[in-house]
C-alpha cells in the first residue's frame, strides 16, 4: 500500500469520533419470497422506509404489515442478501423517488433508478425533487372540471369517447387486441397536437415482457416522442414489490409535472398485472384473501391511485394529470372482479371487442359499450358538431346491421342508412401508429355524415380520405388552419368547406 493512502487513512481515523449510544432496532426473524418479518421497531410507521443491515450492505424495505409483535416488510433491494438475525433500522421517511425535467426520454424502475443503461439521470442533483410514491389525491377545492381535450389521434375515440385533460379513462379488452396500441398512439399524437400545452407522457409498464418495453422505447424514439415521455418499467422478471410500486412511481412523476402547471398523461399498462402482483405480496404477508384471493383493499389500491389524476384549478397552477389505466379481460369477461372495480373508479371506458378485431375493425372499439362520462365537456366545438350526428348514424346502423343479409327486401331509406353506416364504420378504421390531428378527423367525419361518401365504393373510402385531406391541405389550407386554431366550424367556414368537398368529390375523385 502506498504511503499516501496510509497517510490519508490515518488522517481520516484521527478525526473520527464515535460514541456508542442506544438506538431502536428490529431483528429479521423470517425472510423469503421478497418479504421479511421483523421483530422490534415498535414505533415504525405504516408505509415507512426501513433499512436492513445485511452483510452485503443496506437493503431498503417497506413496512407493510404492522402487527402486535412484528412488522411484515416488502424487500425493495437484494432479497438474497437478507438473513435471519440481520438488524433493521428506521429511516423516518416515506418511500419517494427523485423527479425532475431530466427524466424525460429516460427509462426508470419503480424506485427511480435508471433502467436504460444511459447512466445517471440527474447530472445536477439539486434540480431533482423528492416526490412521495403515496400521496393524498388533490381535494375537492383544488380541482376543477375538465375543460381541455386530450386528443388521442384516433377518430373513433376523439369523436365519440372524448377524453379531457385530468380525466381517468379505462382501456379494457382481451389480450392482443390493441390496448397498448391505443395508448401509444395517444402518446405519438401529443407531438403534433396543438390544442393546448405540450402533454408530458408517462408510460408505466407493469409485468410486461422486457422485449415489449424495448419495442415501446424504440417506437417512441423513432417517432420523436421520447423527448416528452418517461417510461417506468417493472417487467415480469422484476420482483412483485417493484411491480406493485411502479404505477405509484409513474403517478408521482406525473404529479411533479402537474404541480408545475403542466399537463401530464400517465398510462398504466396494465392494472390487471398490478393487481396480481399485489395479490402475491398480500398472500405472502398473510393478509386474509377475499374474492378471487385478492386482498380486501384491492379496490382501495386502485382507487387511491386513480384518484390522483386531476385537473387543478388555476389558483393551484392549473396543471392536470390524465390517467389511462389498461385492464386485460379474460375471454371478454368485463364483469370479473378487477375490471368491474376499475370501471367503477374511472370516468369512462374504451372497450375493445375481439369480434370487431377479427372482422378487421381496428381499433376494435365497441362504441356502444364505451363511454366517456366527462370528456364531452372538453371536446372542441368542431368535433362536437360532427360527432353528435356520427353517433346517431352509427347507432341506427348497428340496429339495422342484422338486416344486411336481406338487403334486397329492404326499403330505400333503410338501405341508405345501412350503406352510410358501413361507410362510416370503414372511415373510422385506422392503422396503428397513424394518429390523426383532430381537425383532419373533423373534416373526414364532416364529409362522411354529410353524405359525400355515400356514392363511393367501400373499398375506396380510405383512398378518398387520403386524397381529400391532401386536396384540402394544398388548396384550402386556410380552412384547416382556422379549424385547428379556433377548434370550431363557423357558418362561413362550413359553407366554404362544403363547397370544397363537393368540388373534390364531384370533379376530382369521381372523375
Amino acid at each position: 500500500m502506498s504511503y499516501e493512502i496510509i497517510e490519508k487513512l490515518k488522517k481520516e481515523i484521527a478525526g473520527f469520533k464515535d460514541e456508542a449510544e442506544f438506538r431502536d432496532v428490529g431483528i429479521v426473524t423470517e425472510t423469503g419470497d421478497g418479504i421479511a418479518k421483523i421483530s422490534g421497531l415498535t414505533n415504525a410507521l405504516s408505509q415507512e422506509l426501513l433499512y436492513i443491515e445485511s452483510a452485503h450492505g443496506e437493503v431498503p424495505v417497506l413496512a407493510a404489515n404492522l402487527e402486535d409483535n412484528s412488522i411484515g416488510v416488502i424487500l425493495l433491494g437484494d432479497a438474497v442478501a437478507v438473513k435471519v438475525g440481520d438488524r433493521a433500522r428506521k429511516s423516518g421517511k416515506i418511500l419517494s423517488i427523485k423527479v425532475g425535467q431530466e427524466l424525460l426520454g429516460r427509462v426508470v424502475d419503480s424506485l427511480g433508478r435508471p433502467a436504460d443503461g444511459k447512466g445517471v439521470i440527474f447530472r445536477n442533483p439539486e434540480s431533482a425533487k423528492d416526490y412521495f410514491l403515496e400521496r393524498a389525491a388533490p381535494s375537492v377545492i383544488e380541482r376543477q372540471s375538465v375543460d381541455t381535450p386530450l386528443h388521442t389521434g384516433i377518430k373513433a375515440i376523439d369523436a365519440m369517447i372524448p377524453i379531457g385533460r385530468g380525466q381517468r379513462e379505462l382501456i379494457l379488452g382481451d389480450r392482443q387486441i390493441g390496448k397498448t396500441a391505443i395508448a401509444l398512439d395517444t402518446i405519438l399524437n401529443q407531438k403534433s397536437d396543438k390544442t393546448g400545452r405540450q402533454v408530458i407522457c408517462i408510460y408505466v409498464a407493469v409485468g410486461q415482457k422486457n422485449s415489449k418495453v424495448a419495442q415501446v422505447l424504440k417506437l417512441l424514439e423513432e417517432e420523436g416522442a421520447s423527448k416528452y415521455t418517461v417510461i417506468v418499467s417493472a417487467p415480469a422478471s422484476s420482483p412483485a414489490a417493484l411491480q406493485y410500486l411502479a404505477p405509484f412511481a409513474g403517478c408521482a412523476i406525473g404529479e411533479y409535472f402537474m404541480d408545475k402547471g403542466e399537463d401530464a398523461l400517465v398510462i398504466y399498462d396494465d392494472l390487471s398485472k398490478h393487481a396480481i402482483a399485489y395479490r402475491e405480496l398480500s398472500l405472502l404477508l398473510r393478509r386474509p384473501p377475499g374474492r378471487e384471493a385478492y386482498p380486501g383493499d384491492i379496490f382501495y389500491l386502485h382507487s387511491r391511485l386513480l384518484e390522483r389524476a386531476a385537473k387543478l384549478r388555476k389558483e393551484q397552477g392549473g396543471g392536470s394529470l390524465t390517467a389511462l389505466p389498461i385492464i386485460e379481460t379474460q375471454l371478454g369477461d368485463v364483469s370479473a372482479y378487477i375490471p368491474t372495480n376499475v370501471i367503477s373508479i374511472t370516468d369512462g371506458q374504451i372497450y375493445l371487442e375481439p369480434k370487431l378485431f377479427y372482422q378487421g375493425v381496428r381499433p376494435a372499439v365497441n362504441v356502444g359499450l364505451s363511454v366517456s362520462r366527462v370528456g364531452s365537456k372538453a371536446q372542441t366545438k368542431a368535433m362536437k358538431k360532427v360527432a353528435g350526428k356520427l353517433r346517431l348514424e352509427l347507432a341506427q346502423f348497428r340496429e339495422l346491421e342484422a338486416f344486411v343479409k336481406f338487403a334486397s327486401d329492404l326499403d330505400e331509406n333503410t338501405k341508405q342508412k345501412i350503406q352510410r353506416g358501413a361507410r362510416l364504420a370503414e372511415m373510422l378504421k385506422q392503422e396503428d401508429r397513424a394518429p390523426m390531428e383532430f381537425y383532419k378527423a373533423v373534416l373526414i367525419i364532416y364529409a362522411a355524415i354529410s353524405g359525400f361518401l355515400d356514392g363511393i365504393k367501400l373499398s375506396d373510402v380510405k383512398k378518398y380520405e387520403r386524397e381529400l385531406l391532401e386536396y384540402l391541405g394544398k388548396l384550402h389550407k386556410t380552412l384547416l388552419i382556422e379549424i385547428e386554431k379556433t377548434g370550431d366550424i363557423s357558418g362561413k367556414t362550413e359553407a366554404a368547406l362544403k363547397t370544397a368537398i363537393q368540388d373534390f368529390t364531384g370533379n376530382i375523385f369521381n372523375k
Binding site: 449510544e21 442506544f22 438506538r23 431502536d24 432496532v25 431483528i27 422490534g40
Partner: protein, 106 residues
C-alpha cells in the same frame, strides 16, 4: 417443589417428542424463557461478543441488570471486536468494532 417440577419437565418433553419437535426443543425452551421473563416483568438481554467471554466478565455483565431479566450470551465473530447488547429485540447498544468501521467508511 422439586418433584412437581420434574414431573412437569417430563410431561413437557413427552409432548415435544409426541409432536416430533425434539429437534426444536432448544428453541421452544428459549421461547418459553422469553415468555416467562416477560410475565415476570423482566427484559430479554442479548449480549453478543466477538469472542467468548470469561465467566467473570459474564458475571460482571449480568450484575448490571435486574434479577428478573434474562441475560443471554452468544459469540458473533462478525462483530470483529467488542460487543453488542440488545434489549427485548428492540433497543441496541453497539460498541463493536464492526459498527465503528461501518461508520468510518460510510
Amino acid at each position: 417443589m422439586p418433584g412437581k417440577q420434574e414431573e412437569i419437565s417430563k410431561r413437557f418433553l413427552e409432548t415435544v417428542r409426541k409432536n416430533g419437535d425434539l429437534k426444536s426443543a432448544g428453541k421452544i425452551l428459549k421461547a418459553l424463557g422469553v415468555f416467562l421473563t416477560g410475565e415476570r416483568g423482566g427484559r430479554v438481554i442479548s449480549v453478543e461478543s466477538a469472542r467468548g467471554m470469561q465467566d467473570a466478565t459474564r458475571a460482571k455483565f449480568s450484575e448490571r441488570f435486574q434479577k428478573e431479566d434474562l441475560v443471554e450470551f452468544s459469540v458473533n465473530p462478525a462483530l470483529i471486536a467488542g460487543a453488542r447488547v440488545t434489549v427485548n429485540n428492540s433497543r441496541e447498544l453497539d460498541f463493536s468494532f464492526k459498527r465503528k468501521l461501518n461508520k468510518l467508511f460510510k
